[in-house]
């Protein structure tokens, strides 16, 4: 009874969710990625392919920019016209930032992408009609559209290869948008176990596929509202606040001496992924 629900809960449904006045409890999944530890080896990306049934599109479609990597490793070198990138490259694993005020959510005409109680940006494949507005409005461009029907494509999923598919993750057919889910199937499984035992998910109990594979442990993932979690400690140590478009630490004149930052923070999307700046030795 929606109208009665509306009238009953009028003041609540006028609150902004989930930032400010509705804090997360008991979960808020978040990440911290240490760019100084990231070596750009691509293990996370492959793990993501394996875990999430991501199609390999092949050369021609990759050329058309139709690749599907939910997690891409970007590399930069801004060398100001120096002859060599003599301070190395900078690698950056980029996946859905699970924004708290996600620009993609508001624009989907069929509400296929919504905010969850755990602070994730859910993408419901079977609800998607493929208007692609979410991707158009994503500042990070981390949403990937199924331009072709990959499950029926012999080059992409030959019969033998389909046996590798993860049964916990939908295989997306043509015409739907997809993106990184923070391995929500693993989160659900962990929550089911925890719920059965009447507790919340413990730190370290659940890992995302990328985090699990990362040889240098650059990716940490966990429950931001759990003070025991590494992610919580990292965010706290770096003084990065979730629902802020400017961090107080950056306002200080002498510089914070901290390296936590979020990408395109000024857009007020409140990403759930904090990056730690890559460090370079000043002595050489």
């Amino acid at each position: 009874m929606s109208v009665s629900n509306l009238l009953e809960n009028w003041s609540q449904v006028r609150h902004e969710h989930p930032v400010n006045d509705k804090p997360h409890d008991p979960y808020k999944w978040a990440m911290a990625i240490d760019l100084d530890a990231c070596t750009g080896c691509n293990a996370c990306s492959v793990a993501c392919y394996a875990e999430n049934n991501i199609p390999v599109v092949g050369k021609e479609r990759f050329q058309h920019g139709q690749q599907m990597h939910w997690l891409r490793v970007e590399r930069y070198w801004e060398e100001d016209s120096r002859e060599f990138p003599d301070q190395g490259f900078q690698f950056l694993p980029m996946m859905c930032q699970q924004c708290e005020a996600a620009p993609c959510e508001t624009v989907c005409p069929v509400a296929a992408t919504n905010h969850t109680a755990d602070g994730l940006n859910s993408q419901i494949y079977n609800r998607c009609i493929g208007s692609r507005y979410c991707s158009a409005n994503c500042p990070f461009k981390v949403r990937y559209f199924n331009w072709y029907d990959y499950p029926t494509d012999e080059m992409v999923w030959p019969a033998e290869m389909t046996q590798q598919m993860n049964p916990d993750v939908s295989v997306r057919s043509k015409g739907v948008m997809e993106k990184c889910t923070f391995c929500v199937q693993r989160l659900s499984a962990a929550k089911v176990v925890a719920k059965g035992e009447g507790r919340i998910v413990r730190e370290g109990e659940v890992q995302t596929a990328c985090q699990q594979s990362c040889p240098t442990g650059a990716i940490s993932f966990g429950n931001l509202v759990n003070p025991e979690s590494r992610v919580h400690k990292q965010w706290a140590a770096q003084q990065v606040v979730l629902d802020a478009d400017k961090q107080a630490k950056d306002e200080k004149e002498e510089g914070p001496g901290l390296r936590g930052y979020r990408i395109l923070e000024e857009l007020r999307a409140y990403p759930s992924v904090m990056y730690l700046e890559r460090v370079r030795e000043s002595a050489v």
Binding site: A43, V73, R75, N166, S213, L258, E281
Partner: protein, 741 residues
């Protein structure tokens, strides 16, 4: 017979897992196809997955994990395979392994695509003209016996990649039974020269490196984060090294002519003129000014000005590095493939080792290795010198029967070897193969192998940490194709042809393996437990950890005999060095047909599915080349055509083409993508070891006038962030790392 698996949560419970490994009702298993499969409530359309008999732990919908060993490279990472409804879904690292500690690289994870690859060989094939004819295994074995009869031992050759463990022992026995000593262990990209140089300098082939203890790492072209020796392990040490102690972050300086993944992560990346790594090492010793005696004498001539002009490194930079090395100790100096890939590679490596010794790192960050107490199981290390010997033998028509296992020399031998032509001179060629690769296509008999996810085995890694270990490889699922066989089983059958009595007790390789392990139970740490418990425990762990025997480390790098040649004169006709790029995911090209690896962008260039020629932008401007131009790269041996990628991470006097692509066989995901730089490689060898000098090939490049769009992940902004704060960087003096979590 009880053989038991290794279920994480059910350790130690013996059970019959055959049924579990069986693929169950795949068509009905719950892979969800949104919009494609079942999209509404359906009744009575699908069949439920059900068992005849089920053990307690077999619960539909819940994955079980088995421990095994990654076979994608020789590093010996332990893996943890997730199995559901009888299918292996995903490979993860085994947290109990000291080598990879629960982590796994992209190459390792792609192992499932090796297993499920649609282009695997499924039946034994016998050459009939240009076609392979399916024959039965019995026939195949009989044929081998027939071909071997009356052939002298020296007329038989066995070519293989690196092997270790019980397979190596069994194989050794088989070769023994054939009376041949011609076991050629060949790896296309292996640190052969460094091993030899290590023996000279440290007394061991491969010491244990302690990146985590070092404060400075000075690496001469060792791509330890990408493809060198044991990258997953080194990456973990690297992470600790970066974190440092009390916020004192480790500093990485990489010296090489073509940037590797490690170079891309360096605090300072120095592009030296190809082949002058040794000169720079001596220059740094000189700049350190702490050397005495004959070392000081040796480096005396290598003053700043000379070193700078020979290597192209700015004099100030040499001083800075020397100062840093002096200030922060211990450090670690490594010689890698960039240093060893020249005719004077051994000299380069010796110079670099000398620097390490001068800095006093030996014993601190270079430690004595540990080896397994069973020499017959220790890894047979592949190198390229073996291939040369084989090739010479083939050219002379010495061999009547040639076996080939886990090597693809037709693809990886330098073009100058003309290996394919020489191979044709061998009488009868047997290939044990997963795929019809280039070498298998030349064979007379192709025997299909089980994948690493179907086969039993043991493996001893070349590079071990925290004591010695024997890795167990066990099936994660039932055979995908009924007519493939494990290599161990094949060798066992073959050896039974020769020494039936000795081996008749072993029904199959599994029985052999189990017997052999149980025989040495005491030495393997299983003293005092009964056989089954020990065996189950072993399989559950996937690793047998041993104390092992520690080698002795010496520090006798010496100046004596160290002479670096004068910088090579410029070659008018072939002005550029060709540096074959070894990437972390493709290595020597044996896994190119795994689509995840093909579609993983190369970390440095972000190119996928294709080969490229890395050209420095300065050089490109000189030659009038832009990105996407197809150029013809010509060496004395041959030429290839490939697209150009302008890349600042390469010395202007060099170009680089990655190895691994350019297959003309190996199935749908490998064939026809890219070019194979091995084809144009000259046959130049390291003077001291006879190893192939991979970086010595000189080439020239010519525009062909064609241009293509480079298929890559980066956009038109390339590596620029256009003023946005995306991948940010901070220098150490602006940040306090000590307080970090």
């Amino acid at each position: 017979m009880i053989d038991s698996g290794s279920v994480k949560q059910l350790a130690g419970h013996p059970f019959d897992r055959r049924d579990f490994l069986k693929v169950l009702g795949w068509s009905g298993a719950a892979v969800a196809l949104s919009g494609c499969g079942n999209t509404s409530i359906e009744d009575g359309k699908e069949t439920v997955v059900s068992y005849v008999e089920a053990n307690d732990y077999m619960v539909p919908g819940i994955g079980v994990y088995y421990n095994s060993t990654c076979a994608q490279c020789d590093a010996g990472c332990s893996i943890n395979g997730r199995v559901r409804e009888g299918r292996v879904l995903k490979l993860e690292g085994n947290p109990d392994s000291a080598i990879n500690k629960g982590k796994l690289c992209g190459l390792g994870q792609a192992g499932v695509q090796h297993h499920y690859n649609p282009d695997r060989v499924r039946e034994p094939l016998l050459r009939n003209g240009n076609k392979g004819e399916t024959i039965s295994w019995d026939k195949a074995y009989a044929l081998i016996a027939e071909k071997l009869s009356g052939v002298k031992g020296e007329e038989i050759a066995f070519l293989s990649g690196g092997v270790s463990g019980h397979l190596k022992a069994l194989l050794g026995n088989y070769l023994d039974s054939l009376g041949t000593k011609n076991h050629f262990v060949y790896e296309a990209v292996a640190p052969g020269v460094v091993r030899a140089a290590n023996v000279k300098a440290y007394g061991v082939e491969m010491p244990r490196y302690r990146f985590d203890k070092a404060q400075v790492v000075l690496s001469f072209g060792a791509d330890f984060l990408g493809s060198w020796v044991s990258p997953v392990h080194f990456s973990q040490q690297y992470a600790q090294f970066r974190k440092g102690v009390n916020g004192q972050r480790g500093v990485l300086v990489q010296v090489e002519s073509k940037m590797t993944l490690t170079g891309a992560n360096a605090d300072r990346w120095l592009a030296v003129k190809p082949g002058t790594e040794g000169v720079l090492a001596l220059g740094i010793i000189n700049a350190l000014g702490i050397a005495t005696g004959e070392v000081a004498e040796l480096v005396k001539g290598y003053d700043r000005a000379r070193v700078s002009s020979e290597t192209g490194v700015a004099p100030g930079q040499i001083d800075k590095i020397a100062a840093l090395l002096k200030l922060r100790s211990p450090s670690l100096v490594l010689a890698g493939s960039a240093a060893e890939g020249y005719a004077h590679g051994s000299q380069n490596a010796a110079a670099i080792h000398l620097l390490n010794q001068v800095l006093g790192n030996v014993g601190k960050t270079v430690e004595a290795p540990v080896s397994v107490p069973f020499p017959q199981m220790a890894p047979a290390k592949g190198n390229t010198a073996a291939l040369k010997t084989l090739n010479d033998g083939l050219a002379a028509g010495k061999y009547k029967v040639l076996f080939n296992f886990a090597a693809n020399p037709v693809f990886t031998a330098p073009g100058a070897f003309k290996f394919k032509d020489n191979l044709a001179k061998a009488g009868f060629k047997v290939a044990f193969a997963h795929y019809l690769d280039e070498t298998a296509l030349q064979a007379d008999l192709v025997l299909p192998l089980d994948s690493a996810m179907e086969d039993w085995g043991t493996q001893v890694p070349e590079y071990m940490t925290e004591g010695a270990q024997i890795n167990i490889q066990q099936p994660l699922m039932e055979r995908l194709h009924a007519n493939t066989r494990g290599m161990g089983d094949i060798v066992l059958t073959l050896i039974k042809q020769r020494r039936a009595d000795e081996y008749k007790a072993f029904e199959d390789y599994y029985a052999y393996l189990r017997g052999a392990m149980l025989q040495n139970k005491g030495a393997l740490g299983g003293g005092g437990v009964d056989d089954d418990t020990f065996w189950n425990e072993t399989l559950t762990q996937g690793i047998v950890k041993l104390a092992g025997s520690t080698g002795t480390l010496t520090a006798h790098a010496a100046a004596a005999g160290l002479t670096l040649p004068a910088p090579a004169a410029s070659d008018e006709q072939y002005p550029l060095h060709l540096i074959p790029g070894v990437t972390a995911s493709l290595r020597d090209g044996r896994h190119t047909n795994q689509p995840w690896l093909q579609e993983s962008p190369d970390p440095l260039t972000t190119i996928v599915w294709d080969s490229w020629v890395e050209v420095h932008p300065k050089k490109a401007t000189e030659l009038g080349i832009v990105e996407g131009d197809i150029v013809e790269v010509t060496s004395k041996t041959g030429s290839v055509k490939a697209q150009v990628y302008l890349f600042p991470g390469i010395h202007p006097e060099a170009i680089s083409i990655p190895v691994g692509r350019g297959h003309d066989a190996m199935g749908r995901y490998a064939k026809g993508y890219g070019v194979n730089p091995f084809q144009i490689m000259d046959a130049v060898f390291d003077a001291a070891t006879g190893e192939l000098a991979m970086h010595e090939t000189r080439v020239n490049i010519k525009k062909t006038g064609q241009r293509v769009l480079v298929v890559k992940d980066e956009g038109s902004a390339g590596a620029l962030q256009m003023g946005r704060k995306i991948a940010a960087r901070v220098s150490t003096d602006q940040v306090d790392l000590s307080k970090e979590v």
